[in-house]
């Protein structure tokens, strides 16, 4: 049998267990990486600490390579994996708004939960804001819906968009990540006294 496992067929216990275990491992990884620390996270935007970039892009590259290899070996059925859909404008604008909130708040939602769980009261305030903002968004949804559903794109993935083989795009991402790591190490050395 090839992955993904048909969880719906394995019942509510597997559903809950997979969520709790994978979530638990997610929380451990974020906390160990130091991503529950607002000054470390925001160091990304002041050129002093590139942990956000390094952790995130190492994770993306690891998972991306894993999916490519397991797919090529026939161990995972790629067509059954969820690819987040593309709505160009709302996602571009959403990213801009999110970036402002990130530097203002000091955490993103996942790292905010990590920080709150390790005793940080400012992260608790951020999570409260997150719930409030989500409620406001929901109340305003009928007016935002036109924009929310604007500019859907048929191309779901970068290989489809560029008309390239998946291997070529994966290689490109790996090269970009390695170059980024080199720049990050250089800038960190320069900023440390």
């Amino acid at each position: 049998m090839s992955a993904p496992l048909p969880l719906d067929a394995t019942g509510p216990v597997a559903h809950a267990a997979s969520a709790l275990l994978l979530g638990g491992a997610f929380g451990v990884a974020l906390e160990r990486a130091g991503l529950g620390d607002a000054r470390k996270l925001t160091g990304q935007f002041y050129g002093t600490d590139f942990a956000v970039f390094k952790v995130m892009f190492t994770a993306i590259v690891t998972c991306m390579l894993g999916l490519l290899v397991l797919g090529a070996l026939g161990l995972v059925n790629r067509t059954r994996l969820v690819v987040p859909p593309t709505y160009l404008l709302p996602q571009a604008v959403g990213g801009l708004i999110f970036g402002v909130g990130f530097v203002l708040g000091g955490y993103c939602p996942g790292t905010g939960c990590t920080a709150a769980a390790s005793g940080r009261l400012d992260a608790l305030a951020l999570v409260a804001g997150l719930l409030g903002g989500t409620w406001l968004f929901g109340e305003a949804f009928s007016r935002l819906r036109g924009f929310y559903e604007a500019t859907p794109m048929a191309a779901r993935t970068l290989p489809e968009l560029f008309g390239l083989a998946e291997g070529a795009v994966v290689a490109g991402v790996v090269v970009l990540a390695l170059a980024g790591f080199g720049v990050a190490e250089h800038l960190e050395r320069r900023s440390s006294p």
Binding site: L22, E31, G34, K40, C63, G105, C113, L131
Partner: protein, 178 residues
């Protein structure tokens, strides 16, 4: 390894090692569930459950809340996979911080801002961020990380604009952090 020195918290892991570990957790999520990890979706589920509890008719008539509660209130947002996953995240992070001697009640802030203003800024940041995440259909976890690894076009657009905006506003907020 006998006595975890509570007074001296252990250093964070090497970012590349932690990143590879995170990537393997994400890969496992894809293999087991068919989708990746997430975070902000849990806020949408919790808020929808809250609105349903207070004003069920209002919640079900609203397409945003209604998507979580079901048109007849038949769905239970709080037992959704993403809510349980974030519950696991919170438990895992708390355990990890405690085991490493890093659990501490504190307010993270730069020297140029007081606790009170930092808490207000964090609340405001969370509110703003929620709008960005919902417009984009995900946050750094569910869209950036998960979609990034799945090579989703929208995920890479989101990551690009997120970092661009972060660098653009960072100089204005310097006093909060440096």
């Amino acid at each position: 390894m006998s006595d975890p020195a509570r007074a001296a918290p252990r250093a964070y892991a090497n970012p590349y090692v932690a990143g590879a570990g995170l990537g393997l957790v994400l890969l496992a999520a894809f293999l087991v569930t068919g989708h990746g990890l997430g975070a902000s979706g849990a806020a949408a589920a919790v808020v929808s459950a809250g609105v349903e509890a207070v004003a069920p008719t209002h919640a079900r008539a609203n397409p945003f809340f209604g998507a979580w509660t079901g048109a007849d209130g038949g769905r239970a947002p709080l037992s959704d996979w993403i809510v349980l996953e974030v519950a696991g995240l919170i438990a895992g992070a708390a355990l990890s911080a405690w085991a490493a001697g890093r659990w501490q009640r504190r307010v993270d802030r730069g020297p140029g801002i007081g606790d009170r203003r930092r808490l207000l800024a964090a609340f405001a940041g969370g509110t703003v961020m929620a709008f960005g995440a919902r417009l984009a259909r995900g946050c750094t976890s569910g869209l950036g990380l998960t979609g990034g690894a799945a090579l989703s076009v929208g995920a890479w657009v989101f990551l690009l604009t997120l970092f661009a905006a972060g660098y653009a506003v960072a100089p204005l907020l310097r006093r909060s952090w440096r």
